[in-house]
Assembly symmetry: C2
Homo-oligomer: 347 residues x 2
DNA sequence: GTGAAAGCGCTAACAC
DNA sequence: GTGTTAGCGCTTTCAC
């Protein structure tokens, strides 16, 4: 008896069939018992559960997925536009990813992460969706792929995108009202006395373009000269250098043609702060500076950064909530989150 | 003819069988053609490929995985010990994750991400491995799960862990030589004139404990008093407060019992710098400070942070390389990476 | 309440 | 070179 128990314990029980044999029932019954579904005799169920525990049995998700035509996995894809490679180590996306992981887990889904370079692989989105590995997809950032995403959205419902909302777009998006954020930033700079505004960062990506446009709105409304774009890359290494050059060009012995800078992200703002200091410019006295995101770094710069806050946790919740609703067959509207001005000491 | 072509184009071709019908061949041939394997007539292959492209056909990975008993997916799991919840938004892990994603993609693998709370789910690792969804697993951080990982490693080869290396351990680990890093830090502080050292951070996690021990080694060797642990949590909110309290306790009107601080991470060091400034202490004149990791923030503090660099990209490469070798049946040793002292202006 | 049987979509022998 | 066949491990009718 003891010997036979020992022997049993050594049997590799990898499949539901193995377990069925041990329990003296059919595979179907084991499946039902483990799924906690339909009617199964309580004693049978308990016996099966005990056996499963004892042998550390876990049903194969692949097989289950294949049969049920759903995987319990949500794909999360980060498209990296041309020069944006580095952007991913960007704290904003990474923080969002962390919240997404938690949120998906909470709802019983796993997360499959993929970073893609659309330039090298035009098929990036269809390939992911068509893989059969995921029940739905969350795209983090539209990058320069707005059109591709629109096309895909026409034929595929189980997708939600983090990004900027555009009048009449067809894909479901969750994101901050960037244009409003841009307005808040410009208004604050101007309220502090700035008259010659600049926008620091790449104006290519839609989200940044909207922030820039928001600032432009305010400048126009107030009858100020238009906002000067100071274009940079996003990776810290290149950006620092580029910022230094821009500053050198606009703050000369002859005069200063900028007195308020709106940076596309806090990361850029922090770098800018460093360069301003290096060039002997005082913030906020000589120049006012305002960032975007409200990442942890915004509290730690000296002086601490005034910025426009995005609610990342709310964003993650929104993405998951909308996606799950879509999986359930609902049609969902996009979700635009309000930005919030966080006043610290740079503007 | 045109009509029939149109009709064909409209047929949903989801399975290899659909495609086979269209191409007028058997499913087996389609499978072979698409896999680019074995002998298939060139014309047949081209025809099939063309059809596949035209209809946007992509073979179902679940089915393929089930049949071939491999999924092409690597699991990446981040265990969150007791109070370490916040740590994940920690830039270090997130940066490592980014590099891992790139590295795995390069090798044709997908990445399934899971954050787990071992306290709530003792079974976290076995469950992931047993799910049948992944070919192997990378554990990011040992957290307080060293023993659990050791146990699992005895029965499962396809695992590599980021963390600290311990004499005689059984799981394959990749990580920086933390103890050596601690020594480098302490030596630098002492070379700068510090005699009363403190270690800032939680000494619980193994990696931090090793850093602390390294500093302790040097203090002992030099005949200095032992290094004072200033225990904090890792989440920025709580840490700031705790740091302020520690500083207030050790820098009083009566005197200063600390003149050199070694912070467990750059994040903590940056917060500490802020608090030191708030309490009117000059760095490095009154206190020397040194961090660990060399995250981007280390360059941006004022003054810029002296720190001990971990080569994160090399770490990611090592993790993937070792894991793939293990999948291939090799037995692999652990990989211990050398830390590097980066001298800036705080020590 | 449980068993038997038919697949989910794909791959890999094995024939021819 | 290509077709045929037998599953991978699971779920889910359909009987009983």
């Amino acid at each position: 008896m003891a010997a036979s128990e020992e022997q049993e314990a050594r049997i590799q029980v990898r499949t539901i069939t193995d377990l069925a044999r041990l329990a003296g029932v059919s595979p179907g019954t084991v499946s039902r018992a483990l799924a906690g579904k339909s009617l199964v005799n309580t004693k049978t169920r308990e016996k099966i559960e005990a056996l499963a525990r004892e042998h550390g049995f876990r049903p194969n998700q692949m097989a289950s997925g294949l049969r049920r035509q759903k995987t319990g996995v949500i794909g999360v894809v980060i498209p990296l536009g041309h020069d944006i490679r580095q952007q991913i180590s960007d704290s904003f996306f990474m923080t969002l990813l962390g919240f997404l992981a938690d949120e998906l887990t909470t709802h019983g889904y796993d997360l499959m992460l993929r970073r893609v370079v659309p330039d090298d692989d035009a098929d990036w989105l269809d390939r992911f969706i068509g893989s059969g590995m995921i029940d739905g997809v969350i795209v983090i950032g539209q990058s320069d792929q707005f059109d591709r995403i629109e096309e895909v959205a026409d034929g595929y419902r189980s997708m939600v995108v983090w990004g900027n909302h555009q009048e009449g777009q067809r894909h479901c998006v969750v994101g901050t009202d960037n244009r409003l954020g841009g307005r808040l930033a410009a208004e604050r700079l101007i309220a502090g006395g700035a008259r010659k505004l600049a926008f620091l960062g790449d104006t290519g990506p839609m989200e940044f373009a909207a922030r820039f446009a928001g600032a432009q709105d305010v400048a126009a409304r107030m009858g100020l000269p238009s906002v000067l774009p100071l274009v940079t890359h996003l990776s810290p290494d290149r950006a620092s250098e580029e910022i230094a050059k821009h500053l050198a060009a606009h703050f000369t012995a002859q005069g200063r043609d900028i007195d308020g800078i709106f940076a596309a992200t806090d990361t850029l703002a922090a770098l800018c702060l460093t360069e301003l200091r290096a060039q002997g410019l005082a913030v906020p006295d000589d120049v006012k500076l305002i960032g975007f995101d409200d990442l942890p770094i915004a509290r730690q710069t000296i002086p601490p950064l005034t910025t426009v806050r995005q609610d990342i946790a709310a964003g993650a919740r929104g993405l998951v909530d909308l996606l799950l609703r879509r999986l359930g067959g609902e049609t969902t509207e996009s979700l635009v989150l309000p930005p919030e001005l966080v006043v610290r000491e740079t503007a």
